[in-house]
Symmetry: C2
Subunit: 226 residues, 2 copies
Amino acid sequence: MEESLPQRCLDCLVRDKALCGSLGDKQLLDLSLLGRRKVVPKGSVVTWEGDDNPICANIVTGALKLQASTADGREQTVGLLFSGDFIGEPFEEESAVTAEALADTDLCIFPRSGFERVLDDQPQLERALLERTLKSLREARERQLVLGRKSARARLAWFLLSLPRGCDGTIDLPIARQEIADYLGLTIETVSRQFTDLRSSGVIDAERGGRRLRVVDVTALQDAAE
Amino acid sequence: MEESLPQRCLDCLVRDKALCGSLGDKQLLDLSLLGRRKVVPKGSVVTWEGDDNPICANIVTGALKLQASTADGREQTVGLLFSGDFIGEPFEEESAVTAEALADTDLCIFPRSGFERVLDDQPQLERALLERTLKSLREARERQLVLGRKSARARLAWFLLSLPRGCDGTIDLPIARQEIADYLGLTIETVSRQFTDLRSSGVIDAERGGRRLRVVDVTALQDAAE
DNA sequence: CGGACGCTTGAGATCCCTCAAATGTCGTGG
DNA sequence: CCACGACATTTGAGGGATCTCAAGCGTCCG
């Protein structure tokens, strides 16, 4: 009788989108034995900066932010992760960032040491992780440009353009104003003022304080992002 | 008669420090056949942002900066690379950054496609590249914190602390004031003023305008870096 | 000697932050 | 159904850090 994948893998919503998509059914077996599903509630912390780094995980549903902070408590979000994304730092004893759930988040968690052993055995998994890491690095470099050189207006426009946009231009903001501020290296007040400016200049259409907006003038938004 | 490594590999100054250090003599053979040494003069560009991405390379001696730029020409240095570091973006058709030599730089260059084939065959090489990429990502995240949340003073202090320091506290700056400014998301004037302030408050000792300085009070510099 | 270059210094402007208060929304409980 | 508080967001006023523009200084090199 052949061993088979657990039901959670067969049913997995992100089987193809996540790292696992690089593996066939047989190859996935080892990894599947390590994984366990866990829902972490909004606001809870998955890994703490400077602490042990015991896990890696795939995000099934939900969202996480990766935070770095200064000694006096200012925070900078250094990455946003969504459904299908991978979180974790293989080969590192200590976590370099704090990972916090932005919403109730369903994770498929692997012990880091076990995950590393599967990397040893499954070159396709390692390749997929390498490609994802390279992509994360490119994105982190782009954010350095944004944080180092762009105005508040341009940062917000850049952020809005990075979000999935419906065909009618609708955007559902995945995060609150304060979290946008933490991501863009600004204060919440500045973010709010920039929203107001974009609204009153007709670039976007939105309710005051709302999480849903519509991009009216994409070209103007793209210009603003410079 | 056995094939053997080319003389440039046998003599290589960074054989152990660079990516190649992950490979034994036999395993290095394939890669060594691809590599060729090239000295690129200070100021010349190795890859252009948005252009073809034909090469990967190890830095033997010298230094490179990785630049991203806005449409209107403002520049942000998103990485500094030195002897032993790897440069290149495997699996990418288009380069995301401009790589420019900060000094006359001796590279060991591989065609990207050939390098990718060796990655397919040499798991140790791929592992070493993965670990380096993860390290670069951590560093890029730390720079996001610096760029998003730290004052000019703290940025410069952080930069100085990141440089190799002799036992008497001596630092030889590898780059000019303008390049420091590009790296720290500041202007050259602000960088210069911060140097002056650090000097007049006795934290560092340096000649006006000089490339060599001495850290007098490490603790004060560490405090300033917050 | 003269010019180019890199760095520093100064003055003023600007953008964003800080502090403070008002507004709006939502859920809870009376 | 309404009062209330908690919370997120907006708005306002003022200040400060950094940028911009301009000039000066020192060194190196032809």
